[in-house]
């Protein structure tokens, strides 16, 4: 018997093991404190808290928003994915990029644009859209790209033979599509739903600005206005439970579907559907969402920003600096933790390394408001010197966005076969030396992409910053939020514009260079 040397020489692994364990602790430990805090209530008070009719109302509100957004995003994403993969529209790559860009717009910016543009004095002659309809509209138009990307990939991977077989069995083209091809799209639809669902459950900015009471909004109210921290902890736990339920349901459904599938991959390409005289309609349909969710917000933001008072400019630069000062170290930290985690997961796959990786993804799936709250309880008890400081904000942002960096780093690591490191070892390099001279040079593109994703995520991030930033530390995101809350739309405009432009540029460059299209 022989064993791979890596397992035999544990000391060589230690430098990787320590950050990996740290990562696990950074995500899992705060949640423990959230539970501890929630259990602090007296038994009598506990029963009262759990039986409040408010809980049911919040649950129903949250579920209604979730289902509404899923339905609306399906209506948008399914035809769009079809149009951009299976028809003879010109410039499908560019159109796909345009269709994906709205995901760069943060929810609170969307809500801000909606509030500023409608109602009295707005650019659009519409009554002010608030509450359910407003939240549904904003969240659907900024989250449909996730579903679109997922479905688009599935459409491109469809085997044309399936529909051809259905046609030879006597079905018309539309029936053939829905009976033969559509079922193959279900796994992609489900994984898209998961991402959209997590966004809806995790959303805080949209619902609180549009005053639609979901769990996130209520948690914030309890925490910041009513100062009822035990109830806030309980609401956060309920929200976590709902998120866990979503993850579980997705896993359950996906497993059944994947088992039912046979064969894979397309050998030939579909013949593009000729739209003929309907082509203009196709273009109009494809261009509609980006114009609503990207072009109009940018136009409105420019329009509003012109009314921005000159003396506010210094505040703008300060907020930009604050955002960068929190997001940049968080991005570095996230990549620093993603590297060893990905290394463990790819090179030493085991239940333990899979668990650590899941944990990192969990840090992302946890609604950020609940995550921030858990960290507040955790730091107040165990790390009081950190509470209310910039390092804590950086740390929590890094843990939350770790999963964003993990994806690209992991993907890049798969491109570096173990053999290359072995070659370096036989040429006289130590394990650490081999990592830095061979693995890392091949990995750095993935690391940069992962860092960029974490950076832009942290700049856009609202609830964690709102709860954990030091006193008086205003970032772009918190400025937009607080000005909008007070209906100071002109004051908020340049901050929102800066975030939207920055984010759209980052996302656009990343998507294009990753050759997603």
């Amino acid at each position: 018997m022989v064993r791979p040397r890596g397992l035999h020489h544990l000391p060589g692994l230690l430098p990787f093991l320590v950050p990996a364990l740290l990562t696990g602790g950074g995500v899992a430990l705060p949640l423990v404190y959230l539970v501890l805090r929630a259990l602090e209530a007296e038994p009598g008070a506990l029963r009262e808290i759990l039986l409040r009719p408010k809980n049911l109302e919040l649950l129903l509100n949250t579920l209604a928003l979730l289902l509404g957004v899923l339905a609306l995003t399906t209506l948008l994403a399914l035809p769009l994915a079809f149009l951009t993969t299976r028809t003879n529209l010109k410039g499908k790559r560019l159109l796909s990029l345009l269709l994906t860009l709205p995901l760069a717009i943060p929810g609170y910016v969307g809500a801000y644009v909606l509030l500023a543009a409608t109602g009295p004095g707005g650019i659009l002659p519409l009554p002010r859209l608030e509450g359910y309809v407003g939240a549904l509209f904003v969240l659907s138009f900024i989250t449909y790209p996730y579903l679109f990307l997922s479905l688009r990939a599935a459409f491109l991977g469809l085997d044309p033979a399936l529909e051809e077989a259905a046609r030879t069995l006597g079905m018309g083209p539309w029936r053939a599509f829905f009976r033969a091809a559509f079922p193959q799209l279900l796994p992609a639809l489900l994984s898209g739903y998961l991402v959209v669902g997590l966004h809806v459950l995790g959303d805080f900015g949209t619902v609180s600005l549009l005053r639609y009471e979901t769990f996130s909004y209520a948690i914030y109210l309890q925490y910041s206005a009513a100062f009822d921290r035990v109830y806030a902890a309980w609401l956060a736990l309920l929200l976590l439970l709902l998120t866990g339920g979503l993850l579980w349901l997705e896993g359950l459904l996906l497993r059944r579907l994947t088992l039912a599938r046979t064969g894979k991959g397309a050998s030939r390409r579909h013949k593009p559907l000729r739209l003929g005289p309907f082509a203009p309609l196709g273009y109009a349909l494809v261009l509609f969402p980006p114009s609503v969710a990207l072009a109009f917000p940018l136009y409105a933001l420019f329009h509003l920003a012109r009314r921005f008072p000159q003396e506010g400019l210094s505040g703008l630069w300060e907020a930009l600096g604050h955002s960068a000062l929190a997001a940049a170290p968080a991005a570095f930290l996230a990549v620093g933790m993603a590297l060893p985690l990905a290394y463990l997961a790819v090179r030493l796959p085991s239940p333990a390394s899979r668990f650590l990786e899941r944990l990192a993804y969990l840090g992302y799936a946890i609604p950020p408001l609940a995550f921030a709250l858990a960290w507040i309880f955790f730091s107040l008890r165990s790390l009081p010197f950190l509470y209310g400081t910039l390092p804590l904000l950086v740390l929590v942002l890094a843990f939350h966005f770790l999963a964003e960096s993990l994806g690209p780093v992991r993907g890049a690591l798969f491109q570096v076969p173990r053999r290359l490191e072995e070659a370096a070892r036989t040429l006289g390099e130590t394990p650490t030396g081999a990592f830095f001279r061979v693995t890392f040079p091949l990995l750095w593109r993935g690391a940069v992409a992962g860092g960029a994703l974490a950076f832009i995520g942290a700049v856009k991030e609202l609830p964690i910053t709102l709860l954990l930033a030091p006193m008086g530390y205003a970032t772009l995101a918190t400025r937009v939020f607080s000005y909008t809350q007070e209906a100071m739309f002109a004051e908020a405009a340049p901050f929102a514009l800066l975030i939207a432009l920055l984010s759209a540029a980052f996302v656009g460059v990343l998507l294009w260079t990753e050759r997603r299209f």
């Binding site: 022989v2 072995e422 370096a424 070892r425 036989t426 040429l427 006289g428 061979v438």
Partner: protein, 329 residues
Amino acid sequence: MLKGIDLAVYPGEILALLGPSGCGKTTLLRVIAGLESPDGGRVVLEGQDITHLPPERRGIGFVFQDYALFPHLTALGNVAFGLKGKDRLLRAQKALERVGMTLFQHRKPQELSGGQQQRVALARALAPGPKLVLLDEPFSSLDASLRAATREEVRKVLKETGTTALLVTHDQEEALSFADRLGVMRDGKLLQVDTPEAVYLRPKTPFVAQFLGRTNLLSGEGKGRYAETCLGPVALAEPAHGPLLLSLRPEALRLAPPEAGGALGRVVAREFKGHDLTYRVRLLAPEREVLVQEGPESPFRVGDVVAVQVVGEGVALEGQSPKAPVGTD
């Protein structure tokens, strides 16, 4: 996987390990290089026990089957990777020159052909001046047309630099032509180590005899300098007595017209290969087939009745006779 392997490689020699895939030969190389740890046994290099030394401190070069060239470095960068000191680029250039790759030194691995990548991989392994270089199926990813020429070049470079080399392969022709000595492995065991000629001409086991080219395995009765078999008396390379299993290469047999004398049989297949011709002949009694190698001008056709004559020597093998002792490839 590996069972009781006792193998010594002498300074400056090229030793090839030959065996079917899965016999443990690559594992043996990885244990020697330090990429895997053995549960028992020792690896000794120039009198020093290196069993527990990490690979980077062994001074053993490795040429990987798929070359494992670093895709982010040029050919020169790859070769200079294991070198230290101010003159490392100069020495890397020398190493590339030795394999005739000076012109391509600034190319990335993916811009090189398979043969060129092979040469860079060899230069990279040789550049630090290893005491021993290990080659894992180094020619298997090359086209057949390129293989013989590359093999000759690599052999030349190894001999010029006086490098000790251990090569593993499953290609018998490669092992026979490339190595100074040859070891045959099976199921994690080393069956026989000797010069290619000795292993081919005097195999010790049926497996070795069959793995190195075609042979006829016959059971017989040893009578000193010869053995009695179904083909009549067969001269033995080494004297032997009692029941034995015999390996008789197809080139030790000849065909003649039936009236010329010898064991009678009928030609069942004829394989013309240009420089020679192999017949498959079914004997009339006992009913079994033998392989006979003839010159290209041999006139017999399928269906002809012929006499099989023994003209060469047989080798007595160790071990049991296989279940169906027929001529095998």
